[in-house]
Symmetry: C2
Subunit: 249 residues, 2 copies
């Protein structure tokens, strides 16, 4: 479709359920779960966690916990019984985690990571590390898919807006192009939302769900741009923070 | 989630691929395939077709054709070899079709109809019959799902904008509510697009695809609001136009 064009693609997949329609075309898969898994992961690295092992099931997390690892587990917005923490970013500021390995399973985000890990290099995005991930992606010159984790396989607004911000930036560099309607829609939604993300998401289903669980502070944190410059990437079965300094483009 | 609330729901499913996540909660499934199946269907009824049999496969369409039916078949924007017409709305203005039964198979739209037909009452929407379908839905007082046919199971903008127009209208009546983020996003996208739908969709992937096939006139027609007041609904295996007059709400 794009002939005589050296630009790389940046596209958006709205749900893990749709990933099979996209998976063979991309070099880097940017996993996004703004509320709250990828925000928590970025926060953990910002506060000195050495590595994070994302697992899909509670049983896997429990097995690591039994071996003495710090292990968090969240389902449907709540900490799973028997675990000390879930995916609240505030849990990942724990000084005890510094230089340690932490295991995590969540409803949506860690499943997306494991779904996509064989399809390309996994990188982790959130609103908290938005500028850093944008500048890093710009330098990669690869075909990029933003994989929104959604909510139980359905589309969600906060992941889409984060993906739209990435597309908007990369397209504006002139080095990237989006050809999928999902990417174009994400960009439009980001541009409408960007001046007041919290207000824009006031009716978001997932935000309502978390507010019902009294997680307003988590939401405010997760929707705050550029708290950290970390770029978590998957190496083997573990997320680590890239060592290279991320410079403004 | 909605307690003490007598409002019915109006929601949007972005793709037939996601339909299984929604299918058990709705009374009416509004199938949308703006470019071009549902626009062609509305046009056919406006021009006097008696009934349309939507079939999923070329083989089924061929079997009807062999029995002497008028049968259309489209795949990837083109008329299938051996058929006289596909899903261009202009084909459905044919005076020979008046009071006749026509059979149709298309890449996306007729598949959506057959996918959803056991989940609720099927109604057909396009931009061409937008006001009619909005006013009719308002009177139904049922839980409504707008099923966007998309393009090969991926999200598309034109179906989403049509669905967003339906949501926006029904929510504004005070009788309906949307709780899914996909519905909220559709509404936002419609509100950005509504003053210039053709311009808004200029970068749409499907529109580009059809322009490459020299189908610019089809696109312009399909994006023209309120050409017809017909409400096609599925009765058994056939689409028919509702007889009741549709009055402005």
């Amino acid at each position: 479709m794009i002939t005589d064009d050296t630009r790389k693609r940046v596209e958006v997949c709205f749900s893990p359920f749709l990933f099979s329609l996209f998976k063979d075309e991309f070099d880097i898969i940017v996993v996004i779960d703004v509320l709250r898994a990828t925000s928590a992961i970025c926060t953990g690295f910002h506060h000195g966690i050495k590595e994070i092992i994302p697992v899909s099931t509670i049983e896997e997390a429990q097995a690591y916990k039994d071996k003495g690892y710090f292990a968090g587990a969240e389902r449907n917005g709540k900490i799973v019984e028997g675990f000390d923490f879930g995916n609240s970013p505030f849990s990942y500021m724990n000084p005890a985690f510094k230089d340690k390995t932490v295991v995590l399973t969540t409803t949506n985000g860690t499943k997306s990571i494991n779904l996509a890990k064989d399809a390309g290099q996994i990188a982790i995005a959130s609103i908290n590390n938005l500028d850093a991930i944008k500048f890093w992606l710009e330098k990669q010159n690869k075909n990029i898919l933003c994989l929104c984790s959604g909510w139980q396989n359905k589309f969600n607004l906060e992941d889409t807006i984060c993906a739209g911000a990435i597309c908007d930036y990369l397209i504006n560099t002139g080095k990237y192009v989006s050809i999928e309607d999902s990417s174009i829609a994400s960009k439009y939604l980001f541009l409408s939302a960007k001046d007041n993300i919290l207000g824009y998401l006031k009716s978001s289903s997932h935000r309502r769900r978390l507010l019902n669980l009294d997680l307003g502070e988590d939401i405010k944190y997760c929707l705050t741009p550029n708290i950290t410059p970390v770029i978590p990437v998957l190496v083997g079965d573990r997320l680590v923070a890239l060592k290279e300094p991320v410079l403004q483009a």
